[in-house]
């Protein structure tokens, strides 16, 4: 259960087309992440699947049933919102039981399911509190609890971690991934954070202005980006792009090299430059070098490097790790 097919889906707000005709296949049990810059239509796409927005054209099929005109509740999907959208006047128990109550389930059955969900998410002690008395991470957990009691065909997450601090975000990231492995339910996850996309997804869908730029496994996107947009969006720090003479030498309009594929030397190499900023992370060092031939290049060096601002260094891109793009930005 949890097979979702979008076919020729279009969304317009008045005159503005947010999503041009779009096709997408989401397989059963898959963890799909929609990623893209803000305003790229990823949240709108999720809301179309959820049924919170009406599709202007095209069809959405869930488990073989045409769901295009079904109201949200009839689609059998559960959503976790960015603001968690907990009901502030209800206790955690009542929050989680709300969808069950709306489905007309008996109080005993409700209690049983709430207990089970609370067990899965380690929040048995929180059941009698109100959302206002919980921390951000705990609220997040309640929101997920409210989603899992319904045993939906698929979970929809709308930037669920963006309100959490960095440490908590990493923890919740792991928890959601583990939850997916345990429940084996289809999950669709929207984020603008490519790290979340890379670490959690089975399949990443990179969106730009409502179009799918590329869809594939994280490593596929990392290794074979179809165009400059995907190449620059996936990977951290960002890929370096060089045009002009250097690119022409490689028979391309633009070439791209990831920072981890740039070697740094204090004696020789094709690109000579001076160190601008060196960011020491301990495990890695990001060195921003201003070169004459290739502009500013970021290099990611393992471990600690003793370079400082103003030093002269030489950079060498790994020859087999150079991405070539044509004038339209499409990979060659």
């Amino acid at each position: 259960m949890g097979q979702i097919t979008l076919s020729k889906v279009v969304k317009q707000f008045g005159e503005v087309t947010v999503i041009p005709p779009l096709d997408l296949e989401i397989n059963e049990g898959e963890f799909v992440v929609f990623v893209g810059p803000s305003g790229c239509g990823k949240s709108t796409l999720l809301r179309l699947i959820a049924g919170l927005e009406d599709t202007s054209a095209g069809s959405i099929t869930i488990d073989g049933v045409n769901a295009t005109d079904l109201p949200p509740a009839k689609r059998g999907l559960a959503m976790v919102f960015q603001s968690y959208a907990l009901y502030p006047h209800m206790t955690v128990r009542k929050n989680i039981a709300f969808p069950l109550k709306m489905a007309g389930m008996s109080p005993e059955e409700q209690e049983k399911r709430v207990k089970a969900a609370a067990g899965v998410l380690n929040m048995n002690k929180l059941l009698d509190r109100r959302p206002g008395q919980l921390s951000g991470g705990q609220r997040q957990r309640v929101a997920i609890g409210r989603a899992i009691v319904r045993e939906p065909k698929a979970f929809l997450f709308d930037e669920p971690l963006s309100n959490l601090d960095a440490a908590l975000r990493m923890g919740m990231r792991l928890e959601i991934t583990e939850l997916h492995q345990r429940l084996k339910t289809t999950m669709i996850y929207v984020t603008h954070d490519q790290v979340e996309a890379m670490t959690m997804a089975d399949k990443i869908v990179v969106l730009n202005a409502g179009r799918i730029e590329q869809a594939g496994s994280p490593l596929e996107l990392y290794k074979n980006p179809k165009n400059i947009f995907v190449a620059s969006f996936i990977g951290s720090p960002k890929m370096n792009f060089v045009g002009g003479q250097v690119a022409k030498y490689h028979n391309a309009a633009t070439i791209g090299v990831r920072p981890e594929h740039v070697m740094l030397s204090t004696s020789s190499g094709p690109w000579k430059g001076t160190v601008g900023v060196a960011e020491h992370l301990g495990s890695d060092t990001f060195v921003h070098v201003n070169t004459e031939e290739a502009g500013t290049i970021t290099a990611r060096i393992s471990g600690e490097v003793v370079v400082k601002h103003g030093d002269t260094v030489w950079l060498t891109p790994m020859p087999d790790k150079i991405y070539r793009f044509d004038a339209e930005g499409v990979a060659i």
Binding site: L52, L77, M79, A85, M90, F98, M102
Partner: protein
């Protein structure tokens, strides 16, 4: 630093109160200036045993409850309506507010002469159009008529407060409830109404204070009549002190009104004040 302000406020409040209490224990009738001196509890005794006192109390209660019922329920419905996007929203919102700016005496006269008049009123015309007869609102059901007038005046206030409350509701909560399978009615009962309880509490508290002292509408239209049918406590105080020229008895009525208002306020705060805590 704040003590001068506090002192001014205290004097502002204490002096009239003290004078009212003082007069309520004095013989003070404008028709008999020679009878003066301490009256004991006579003023209170005569005010309470006046045949108009009990009807006045009940009418005050009916007036407050009637207006509260109409304005809160009507206010919630109007707020829900105005929260929907529709063409001409801005103008409609402005127009809904308009009755609040009409003076009580004016609104009472408009209602009396243009709507409720049994011969020339709009309602009479409508009734005639359907072959009925004009209904003498102010003669047949005077208190109900006054409730309608006051409710019309206060409906905009309730609507405005409740609409702001409604607009502060997180859209995602409604969407979450929609995903959870809640029908329109369930969403209203379980999400929207609980969200508005605080605003409803405010509306009830503020309106109670003002509607307990409704006076102008009665003076302009029914004068408390026919008989005692639309007489409330503030109007009885007016009758005693101005019409009967008995300032002492009027003051006693005023003190009784203060005590009753405080009792009502106490129970109101206890009953719904809990909603204000969280």
């Amino acid at each position: 630093m704040v003590s001068p302000a506090v002192a001014v406020l205290l004097i502002w409040m204490i002096v009239p109160l003290a004078m009212t209490i003082w007069f309520s224990f004095q013989q003070y009738n404008l028709l008999y200036p020679d009878r003066t001196g301490f009256a004991g509890i006579e003023n209170y005794y005569y005010f309470i045993t006046d045949f108009r006192f009990q009807p006045a109390i009940w009418n005050t209660l009916r007036l407050v409850l009637g207006v509260l019922a109409i304005t809160t329920i009507g206010g919630i419905l109007l707020a829900l309506l105005l929260d929907q996007p529709f063409w001409g929203q801005g103008i409609v919102r402005l127009l809904v507010l308009a009755p609040f700016f009409v003076m009580p005496t004016v609104s009472a006269l408009v209602w009396q002469n243009m709507f409720m008049d049994p011969v020339n009123g709009l309602f009479a015309h409508i009734a005639k159009a359907f072959g009925g007869d004009g209904y003498d609102f102010l003669g047949q059901s005077p208190l109900m008529s006054i409730i309608i007038m006051v409710a019309w005046q206060w409906l905009p206030f309730a609507t405005l407060i409740l609409l702001t409350a409604l607009q502060s509701l997180d859209r995602e909560q409604i969407e979450a409830a929609e995903m959870d399978g809640a029908s329109v009615w369930s969403r209203f009962i379980y999400i929207i109404l609980p969200h508005m309880t605080r605003a409803i509490t405010v509306v009830i508290l503020i309106q109670t204070i003002f509607i307990l002292s409704v006076y102008a509408e009665i003076l302009v239209t029914t004068n408390g009549g026919p008989g005692t049918a639309s007489l409330n406590l503030p109007f009885l105080v007016y009758l005693a002190s101005i019409v009967d020229n008995d300032v002492g008895m009027g003051a006693a009525g005023g003190v009784i009104a203060i005590i009753l208002a405080n009792i009502v306020a106490f129970f109101l705060m206890r009953a719904i004040g809990k909603n204000l805590e969280h």
